[in-house]
């Protein structure tokens, strides 16, 4: 019964990944022979493997700049998404007003807007002649920075795209905490902030980890938002990866960059798995 899915994964994911890894290590034969025919600046291993492609890519200051930009945009987006989804989730959880319900409804709207459209919207909103700048100008803030085509626009875009999922996740996590647990804390003398810290926070570690890791993985692999709203260089790895692949015709270097991004994403994945295992362990020892 498990064989068909395993076979599908092996053929459609395992095999290409294996071939790509081999290619980055200089194996240009077999399944990689076609791409090897047209690729430029290829590093070929005569015997065994070579790390020359990795050395070249990591030795490239531009790529290192992209990598650094990718890391800080990812971390900043994670932080912003976690904070925002906690704030909105908490607000909706703790206040049952129509404003709260409206806020929670509005916060998931980005989910239904295609990323391309959203990116262009963000671009025009923050562009040199955009809405925000115009507004700032009118209130007398002439030095207001132009965010369009900067990494800040990328961060705003990534946050915009990821907040709905974060809010959905945090709301459902927070809503699963019974009212009585919150009231019991208040009854014991805890103020609202103390209640959040002692009850809601520790009971929502897993949703928080999910939001953080999924957001991180999304940003690491994103293309549309940084491509449309970001600067030419440095930009996120997703963008420069595609440049190496398409514009420079250097698929081996592009695949090396993909491997690097994969390692970063795997790091986040490990955190996610670890948190889940810890939760499962706690659940099994307490029931």
């Amino acid at each position: 019964m498990v064989l068909p899915p395993v076979a599908v994964v092996a053929v459609f994911i395992g095999f290409p990944v294996g071939a790509a890894i081999a290619y980055t290590l200089g194996k240009t034969g077999g399944p990689n022979s076609t791409i090897a025919l047209i690729a430029q600046r290829q590093h070929v291993a005569k015997h065994g493997v070579t790390f020359a492609a990795y050395r070249e890519v990591l030795g490239n200051a531009h790529v290192r700049g992209d990598l650094w930009a990718t890391v800080w945009v990812t971390l900043l987006t994670i932080a912003a998404v976690v904070v925002l989804s906690w704030a909105i989730g908490l607000y909706v959880r703790l206040s049952d007003t129509w404003i709260a319900r409206t806020v929670s409804a509005l916060s998931v709207i980005p989910l239904f807007i295609p990323v391309v459209i959203a990116s262009y919207a963000i671009l025009t909103f923050y562009a040199a002649q955009g809405f925000i700048k115009t507004l700032a100008y009118h209130v007398g803030w002439h030095s207001f920075p132009t965010l369009g085509y900067t990494m800040w626009a990328v961060v705003i875009g990534e946050v915009w795209v990821n907040v709905p999922f974060g809010v959905l996740m945090m709301s459902s996590g927070l809503n699963s905490v019974p009212n009585a647990l919150i009231e019991a804390a208040r009854d014991s003398g805890a103020s609202l902030p103390q209640t959040i810290r002692a009850v809601l926070l520790p009971m929502n570690v897993i949703p928080t980890v999910i939001v953080a890791t999924f957001t991180g993985i999304y940003v690491l692999g994103s293309f549309t938002v940084p491509y449309l709203t970001g600067p030419s260089a440095p930009n996120l790895m997703g963008v420069s990866m595609s440049q190496f692949f398409q514009s420079f015709n250097q698929p081996q270097q592009a695949e090396v960059m993909a491997m690097i991004v994969f390692v970063l994403a795997a790091g986040l994945g490990t955190i996610y798995v670890w948190a889940n295992m810890r939760a499962a362990k706690r659940a099994s020892q307490t029931s």
């Binding site: 009231e183 019991a184 804390a185 208040r186 003398g189 002692a198 307490t286 029931s287």
Partner: protein, 358 residues
């Protein structure tokens, strides 16, 4: 009501509360003496939880005031009130050990570690759970979780303890045991307590006084014996304990019910002769095979262990009687009432017995 000048442990003073456009608690007046255990008893939806939540500070009364030891606490937030609540589902924090759960409020008060440890140990000893100090809530049984919740409430030494159907998640046997534990602990600590339940058995067995609620109002507030013997209203009579009800008239020494059946009734005194509601407890129905009682046919006999319940046809009406298991029953029985309560327009008429009345 209070003879002394010391303020009540808890005074719910003409409190009203509307929720979603409906009056849930309606001009409620209730005084709980210091150290007393009062049960709020009533059918589902009568406003018991709402009342309790107003005392705990989770709801604001629309009108009236709540006083604890004579001090108005109506405007205080829950964390500022000298009350502690035991929630229906215990509401223990699943990510904290028993020790952490119980010590939470003390830790918030930044007491020295040594003192926290001592007080937690003391209160866990009181509820008999010292051996579970480091267990997590999910690792202990429902009854134990219940006692942890009680310990968590007691450790803060509140002036008023509030319990909202604390036993409803326990099985029948455990429920009886834990309610006795709660009563025992409550008396030992001497804490003013409000206990919400819709189980009359529970209320009758642990309360100093019981407030029977209906539709957001207190129908009767009395000690268990009075409540059972002299239910002030038709509602209380039918809600607390089993009761045979008949429409009929009262004569001297007898009552006359539908179908012209005349049943001898001790202490009955003629009063006007207008039709009234007559209530008779099943244990006050006397059956015998001979004598001057009204004739009845046994329809069913239900063994109840230490007693028997007889369902009999009495004229056009049915009568239920509790008799000893040794009473031999033939198909025909003679029925007398040892005692009856009479209601005119739903309110107790103090006419059927010479016993002291309120």
């Amino acid at each position: 009501m209070s003879e002394s000048t010391t303020p009540a442990g808890l005074l719910i003073d003409r409190v009203s509360k509307d929720l979603a456009g409906r009056t849930i608690v309606d001009d409620m007046q209730l005084e709980v003496r210091a150290g007393e255990l009062t049960c709020l008893l009533g059918p589902s939806g009568c406003g018991k939880t709402t009342t309790l939540r107003m005392v705990g500070g989770f709801l604001q009364p629309d009108a009236g005031a709540i006083l604890i030891d004579g001090v108005d606490v109506s405007r205080l937030a829950p964390e500022k009130r000298p009350t502690a609540m035991v929630f229906q589902n215990y509401a223990l924090w699943p990510h904290m050990s028993v020790f952490k759960n119980v010590s939470f409020g003390l830790r918030l008060r930044r007491l020295p570690r040594r003192e926290i440890r001592d007080r937690v140990e003391q209160v866990l000893e009181l509820v008999g759970l010292t051996h579970h100090m480091n267990s997590f809530p999910a690792q202990i049984s429902g009854g134990e979780q219940q006692r942890v919740a009680l310990a968590r409430a007691l450790v803060l030494e509140p002036k008023v303890l509030l319990l909202d159907e604390p036993l409803s998640n326990l099985d029948a046997k455990l429920r009886v045991r834990v309610r006795e534990d709660i009563r025992e602990i409550q008396q030992r600590v001497g804490i003013t307590t409000v206990f919400v339940t819709h189980d009359q058995d529970e209320a009758l067995s642990i309360s100093d006084r019981i407030a029977v609620m209906s539709g957001g109002r207190v129908e009767q507030y009395a000690d268990p014996t009075t409540l059972y013997r002299e239910p002030a209203t038709h509602f209380v009579a039918s809600f607390v304990g089993a009761m045979n009800f008949y429409t009929g008239t009262v004569a001297d020494g007898a009552v006359e019910i539908a179908g012209g059946v005349r049943v001898p009734c001790e202490g009955a005194r003629r009063n006007g002769g207008a039709p009234v509601e007559i209530g008779v407890r099943p244990e006050d129905v006397m059956v015998s095979t001979a004598g001057d009682g009204a004739e009845a046919h046994v329809l069913r006999e239900i063994p109840r262990g230490h007693y028997k319940e007889l369902v009999m046809q009495l004229g056009e009406a049915e009568v239920r009687a509790f008799v000893g298991p040794e009473v031999s029953t033939s198909e025909r029985q003679r029925v007398r009432f040892a005692r009856a309560v009479v209601y005119a327009e739903g309110v107790l008429r103090p006419s059927t017995e010479p016993a002291p009345l309120r």
